[in-house]
Amino acid sequence: MKNKRDNYAEVTFEAISENEAFARIVVAGFIMPLDPTIDQLNELKTIVSEGVTNSVIHAYDSKGGKIKLILESYQNDVTVTIIDYGKGIEDINKARELFYTSKPEEERSGMGLTLMEVFSDEFYMSSKVGEGTVIKIKKSLELSKEMSA
């Protein structure tokens, strides 16, 4: 059975580091009606923060560009899609390795994608060199609520 989409939001913004906080506020606001736990809220904020930071730093090399954030909810499931139109990733498997970073000189921990995967229930990523990257995650707010109850 395919769940009906209950809510939808889409926002496009400039790929500058100031907008990392903005994107976190957007996701926090979007999931508020679903009554998330503090952990779920923080995990979704982290997912968005990591994704947007990656686009700012890696996709656009801190020179700016466009990032699109799409939020959808289906009952208690939330999906977050982060799209950029930057340089793309040559080797996705390498990028997903824990502690791998293409920018060690900037003190990047190499944990961003791992945290996104750990904090979500489903994780999809596709990228094309020269065209950009799409990351989509799904997080169920019901599951962990039961577990923490």
């Binding site: 923060s49 930071t53 921990s109 944990m111």
Partner: protein, 116 residues
């Protein structure tokens, strides 16, 4: 909410009280301020206090790893205190637990370092 930082020195230890949100944007300013202090003063150890930090992502881990590499050169220690829920989870996942000293609060950190 952005990041605000309160620094103070107790002998050769730099205490850093963080409040607000630590992300890629705010981490670059934090890093510069710590580096300036480390050039000005003889700093051996660093204590990060997370009590009032409401959010941190992997950029914060990057800052801590970078500072660990600095204090290590002078055989100093990196401490973290007052960890809360999700920040503790991220620090655990990062493996930072293996290289830093976690204490309950600043007092315990001071005692540990003998700078009370």
């Amino acid at each position: 909410m952005s990041l605000s930082v309160h620094f103070f020195l107790k002998s050769d230890t730099l205490f850093i009280r963080l409040s607000g949100e630590l992300d890629h944007h705010s981490s670059s300013q934090l890093r510069e301020r710590i580096n300036t202090l480390m050039e000005q003063y003889e700093i051996k150890n660093i204590v990060f206090n997370f009590k009032n930090l409401s959010f941190m992502d992997s950029s914060g881990i990057g800052v801590m790893l970078g500072r660990y590499n600095q204090v290590k050169k002078n055989k100093g220690l990196l401490l973290a205190c007052d960890l809360n829920g999700s920040i503790e989870k991220i620090i655990k996942l990062s493996g930072l637990y293996k290289i830093l000293v976690i204490t309950k609060d600043e007092e315990q950190a001071s005692n540990y370092l003998g700078v009370a």
